[in-house]
Amino acid sequence: MCVDCGCGKSIPFGVKVLSVLAPGLLRGKPATGAGAPDQGVQTVTPAPHSPLTVEVHASLLAKNDGAAARNRARFVERRMLALNLVSSPGAGKTTLLSRTVDEFGREHRCAVVVGDLETDNDARRLHRPHVPVAQITTGSACHLDADMVARGVEALDLDGVRVMFIENVGNLVCPASFDLGEAVRVVLLSATEGEDKPLKYPPIFKSAHVVLLTKVDVAGLLGFDCQLAIENIRRVAPQATLIPLSARSGEGLSVWYDYLRQRLLPT
């Protein structure tokens, strides 16, 4: 699941842009670390001797939530539908997005911000002349945060873009806590995983607007019980729109595209 970094540094990440319209490289900009070493140990005024208790009750996600709210406002202002795609590693996010930008993307301009621990393979797979793509390498972070997304988005040429796909790092736990400013959270469950995944990771499924049951083309072959998986998703996430599909055979893709069309922001 999460990669243990333990470096104690603020997590560095890089943004790399692959786009014909906005070629350029912005690698290695460090995140602005909140926990800079304390310089002010010797304060000017002597401290009071009695111990002092301060009740703070502040959310530790406040910084991210603030950045997410700014992203959200920006997406709305630009009349852009933003989707955050979350799944276990390998559930088929990049494959689905590649096909989506090829098909749906001909109709409505799409852009992609994709997060990965190390490589920019996914950005290369997604890159098309008509699709601006920004790769964010998160280093050791197991999820995208709203600041990273803001940088990725800023680096892109957004002219005419109606849909912003954000492919999160493959992980079902950590992304649940990090709002990116998306309008739609999409959780993917593939037929190569267990039917009981939704029961094991309820928070992420409960936060989903859409659950995509992917790779249904191989379900039969693998003895994956689609009915049971659907039942589990419905029980854990009754609020979510559920779409079984295959990015390989194309089954269910028209339903997915219809969903995207319905959610587009009027310009």
Binding site: G6, V41, P51, S59, P202, K206
Partner: protein
């Protein structure tokens, strides 16, 4: 693992409050961590050690108040603890679609310093 980043946010708050109070030493930092927050207490403790090193919170004690998951069943209109595995089955009706009422907390509750 994002515990280091979370802890950096916490310590930034601690330093700010310590500055405001002109404290020279932080004795105790109390966090509230929900069972469903996706954060591991052990990783938090490790991150705390790393992040406080060389600061006035270096010798501070980290207290983690764990908040159990509490699920609300809409059908039965009752709350029940979501602690049997990760399966939030309502003990009364067997429903799974309960709302998470608590367990997602991730906050800095209290700082003790002088």
């Amino acid at each position: 693992m994002h515990e280091v980043g979370i802890m950096e946010s916490a310590m930034a708050l601690v330093q700010r409050h310590a500055d405001e109070q002109r404290a020279t030493c932080v004795h105790r930092v109390v966090l509230k961590v929900g069972a469903l927050s996706g954060v591991e207490p052990d990783s938090l403790r490790f991150a705390f050690e790393v992040v406080t090193r060389g600061t006035r919170a270096e010798r501070a004690e980290l207290v983690i108040d764990l908040v159990p998951a509490l699920i609300f069943c809409g059908a039965c209109r009752t709350e029940f603890p979501g602690d049997r595995g990760a399966i939030f089955t309502c003990p009364h009706c067997g429903d799974l679609c309960g709302e998470i009422r608590s367990g997602r907390e991730l906050e800095l509750s209290r700082i003790e310093m002088s």
